[in-house]
Point group: C2
Chain length 315, copies 2
Amino acid sequence: MILLLGAGGYVGQAFAAALRERGWEYRPCSRAEGDYTRFDVLLDLLRKVRPEFVISAAGFTGKPNVDACESARAETLLGNTLFPSTLAQACHAAAVPWGHVSSGCVYSGAKIVDAAGTRIETDLTRADVRRLIESNPGVVRGFTEEDEPNFSFRRPPCSFYSGTKALAEENVRPLGGGYLWRLRIPFDEVDHPKNYLTKLLTYPRLYDNFNSLSHRGDFARACLDLWRLRAPFGVYNITNPGYVGTRQVADLIQRVLAPDRKFEFWTNDEEFYRVAAKTPRSNCILDCSRLRAAGVQLRGVEEALEASLNSWSQS
Amino acid sequence: MILLLGAGGYVGQAFAAALRERGWEYRPCSRAEGDYTRFDVLLDLLRKVRPEFVISAAGFTGKPNVDACESARAETLLGNTLFPSTLAQACHAAAVPWGHVSSGCVYSGAKIVDAAGTRIETDLTRADVRRLIESNPGVVRGFTEEDEPNFSFRRPPCSFYSGTKALAEENVRPLGGGYLWRLRIPFDEVDHPKNYLTKLLTYPRLYDNFNSLSHRGDFARACLDLWRLRAPFGVYNITNPGYVGTRQVADLIQRVLAPDRKFEFWTNDEEFYRVAAKTPRSNCILDCSRLRAAGVQLRGVEEALEASLNSWSQS
């Protein structure tokens, strides 16, 4: 039996659906039933229930967006740094393997490689990335799990949210015994305030950038596949291969959904950060070849986006 | 046997001295011998060594002062929030009681009580506290362990350091099984960069305020006494009873040590924070009646200061 923590959240619901789809026995847990963020409560639960595996989709993301984490520091740290540590430690004490939803937003930008594929630059501005993608896309690469986060408390500036996520990975990784599954900007066919497509449809103006993205259902199924395949524990970038620009996604929405609006964009970063955002945003390209090498292949990001829009359903 | 973590630090050394003084068997541990901040390493150590009690004097304070913690966020969180959590959790799993050095700097100011001793105000400015101490000292009280921190991530503004200390207490307290010993501005007779008296002697200008203080040796002995007496686990303010103003301590230094300098003070908060400090400082008065009620009586702060200066020794 699999224990599912944070079953009621946006990502937790996708895990529940994927588990049901496969007919895997699981027990959902939400904070309301018992405070599993307490070590003693969680350890007792693990010893009583004896799950074969624990999935944690719990965390604190900030409402309506990541800016809210700047002032809610205690909640952000409790949810994103202390909780994963407690989870990994309780699971270690109970000898139960685990997987926790981490985030790809510990990076900013992309990296450039030379002909041999060696990393030569990671500190790229948004303009650098755009210029390279337009002029010489072959040298642009996503960050792998071996790349140190470059958008973290150790590499400021970063958002408080990203800092807490990167620190959790740093603290939990050496203990081992589980997976850190990096999600990156979730989307799917269901209208929801946390769905990237809903956000684009509702924001008055859009911020133009390049990103790797994770289809929510594909993400949950890939996580289950890693466990099913008994892939080595550790960190995995779990995004649909490739990356997209915001303008490209807006065009796709326009074409498929034909919404009764035109998409407008912020003129530049200066305007975006002055008017609409308080804290720096992570926009980044991730490499998911480790996931593929483990035997899990996701459809490309453009295909996943198009499929989501084609079966778009309003909640 | 007692396991002493962080034995090499400023406070750890005082614990080592107090343990030797009493002839209590102990095993000192420093990070160099093994990374006890890792849950698995610490749990193995506890299971192998089987100490009757663990003392943790480990933490991250910032050099030369608390401003350094503003930029060293990862280290500050790892040392002051994640580590105490790991300690309490490993000790819980190994069923070993523990004591950890926390800090009184989770408060700012003092509180005012009415005739019945009921709290009526805690959000006092530095000027409020001074005015009250001069006009009506009977209504000024220190914060007890039951008072919520008012200088923390939940009650900003605070220093990043204080935020991490308060969050650690919040996270660890419900788990129980050990002591959180609140130290507040350590001093003693030995010249040292972390000694409050050394700081006053070396700072070009002083910041005038009221504080409760902890004599380093008195603090360590009081902590050992709580364990010896098997006092109930939980949070304890461990300061020498009373409080002092910076001018009063400077006068005492002038009188006893007669240093070849005059003490100058910042004109006001505005000047201090503009020129000398980056992050807000906790200056506060603590109530230590819980410690006394547990059977541990420390000498008053003025007596401890005078004794330290009378036997002042330069390192």
